[in-house]
């Protein structure tokens, strides 16, 4: 026994501890094979992205349930499923010869949802002039903005559509359909709140003049002031600094009956007057968004 232990001690440690790890045990084919596979993969054209819904770990019903819970809304599950089913998906199923009786597409919900969203936006800004409300509607209710919102709600993988990845217009339509589904599930108030919390909050950090950019602010002010009963507007040069240099700076104030309507700065008097007009419009209508 003692002589056997002595023999073990003389051997290199690896041979004792792991007798399988001999020259034969090391799989010399693994690395070259992986390298070759990687080389072939790189030589190929870029492959189309694999839909998440084709994975083994996927349950569409669970995803739909979680979608509602995540947003803190109680959806009617059948309506929500319908909101996510696009016409193109139903057509694809039909062409493949599958029964499509259980599928209802969302084309009806899309148009319904669009009008609900527009109504919510208009309802939020009742005190604003029509021109500005229209600009806000155009900024918020378009495919790019709605697709951005829908993407971040997690619709990208759940949406049932023929193309993958889903196009911006499809995602935007999905958002419209979701709003309509919510309107039908829990009523108008929740739908308005939903639009307010997810769509109108996109205006955070933006000023009204980033969205609405009038060509002649002074003329617009005159027109708006006339509607509000202010007839005469007087522009006064309040301050000027560094005139005749490239850093020239003027401050113009607009007054009506000795009351300040708005004040603005600019590198020339004309620009300062326009800035003051924008400021006056902002003050008159309280345009904080």
């Amino acid at each position: 026994m003692a002589s056997f232990l002595k023999f073990l001690a003389l051997l290199p440690p690896r041979a004792v501890l792991s007798p399988n790890l001999t020259a034969k045990g090391i799989k010399r084919w693994v690395a070259p094979t992986l390298i070759e596979l990687e080389r072939r993969r790189k030589r190929q054209e870029p492959q189309p992205p694999i839909p998440r819904s084709s994975f083994l770990e996927w349950n569409h019903d669970a995803e739909l349930y979680s979608f509602g819970k995540r947003l803190g809304e109680e959806f009617n599950q059948a309506l929500l499923k319908r909101a996510f089913t696009h016409r193109s998906y139903v057509v694809q199923k039909e062409l493949a010869g599958n029964p499509t009786d259980t599928f209802e597409d969302n084309s009806e919900l899309i148009s319904e949802g669009n009008s609900i969203i527009l109504k919510s936006v208009r309802q939020q800004y009742t005190t604003f002039p029509d021109e500005i409300v229209e600009a806000l509607c155009n900024h918020l209710v378009n495919n790019t903005m709605l697709a951005h919102v829908a993407y971040h709600l997690g619709t990208k993988d759940i949406v049932l559509t023929a193309e993958y990845p889903a196009e911006a217009s499809t995602l935007a339509d999905t958002f419209r359909a979701i709003v309509a589904a919510l309107h039908r599930s829990t009523g108008e108030d929740r739908a308005h709140l939903f639009v307010k919390d997810f769509l109108l909050c996109q205006l955070n950090g933006k000023g009204i003049f980033d969205i609405w950019d009038p060509k002649n602010p002074y003329e617009v002010l005159k027109q708006l002031a006339q509607e509000n009963g202010v007839t005469e507007i007087e522009a006064r040069l309040c301050n000027e600094s560094a005139s005749n240099t490239i850093l020239a700076n003027y401050q113009v104030g607009l007054y009506s009956e000795k009351k300040l309507l708005g004040i603005g700065w600019g590198e020339s008097i004309e620009i300062a007057k326009d800035t003051a007009a924008l400021n006056a419009i902002h003050r008159i209508y309280n345009l904080a968004i």
């Binding site: 998440r52 083994l56 770990e57 996927w58 349950n59 669970a62 995803e63 349930y65 979680s66 819970k69 995540r70 947003l71 803190g72 951005h148 919102v149 993407y151 971040h152 709600l153 997690g154 990208k156 307010k196 919390d197 997810f198 109108l200 909050c201 996109q202 955070n204 950090g205 309040c238 301050n239 600094s241 560094a242 700076n249 401050q251 700065w265």
Partner: protein, 184 residues
């Protein structure tokens, strides 16, 4: 990846104004991959046995998938609403460690692996007073002044000339000596 040269510099951001309207948990689904009999998955198996039901009840907005795989290491894969994916290899992790990592996934806005924050704070309004203009804090007295004005045209911070300094020194010395003479 501990060398900061390899980390991507980032600023703190919020995906799609999250929290301005209402807060939405950004972890949309999590896949727990484990082996049913290998020892390295023991902690994850224990977590599934004891804590998973509570976890999914508390977070109904996150879809939890279980994926048993024979003789492979346990992995947690989280998917975020912004499209990020994060996988955590949790070989030999205990049940508590698993729940801590899952809690981290819940509270993150995306996968921040391999990134370095350039600033630990963020503000949309760096100044509440607004930008400075040449007319900010201007003395209202200047509104009534007629230019050119001799008083306002004087050079500010004019240093004393050598002669003036000498005269001052002379005066000071004279004053220092004067009381001594009186006391004698």
């Amino acid at each position: 990846m501990s060398n900061k040269l390899f980390l991507t510099p980032k600023f703190i951001t919020t995906p799609s104004q999250n929290g301005v309207g209402r807060y939405v948990c950004q972890l949309q689904r999590v896949v727990l991959k484990f082996c049913k009999n290998h020892g390295s998955s023991r902690g994850l198996r224990e977590f599934i046995e004891h804590d998973l039901i509570n976890y999914s009840k508390e977070n109904p907005g996150t879809v939890v998938y279980l994926k048993p795989r024979r003789h492979r290491g346990p992995v947690i894969v989280g998917e975020y609403l912004n499209g990020d994916q994060q996988s955590i290899y949790c070989r030999n992790f205990s049940r508590e460690e698993i729940s801590k990592w899952l809690n981290l996934l819940l509270s993150q806005s995306g996968n921040h692996d391999g990134t370095r924050l350039r600033k630990l704070w963020h503000t949309e309004h760096p100044s509440i007073q607004g930008p400075w203009t040449p007319y900010t804090f201007r003395d209202p007295m200047l509104n009534l002044v007629k230019f050119p004005n001799a008083d306002l045209s004087k050079v500010l911070n004019q240093p004393k000339t050598a002669t003036e300094q000498l005269l001052e020194l002379f005066e000071k010395k004279k004053n220092d000596h004067a009381p001594k003479q009186q006391s004698e």
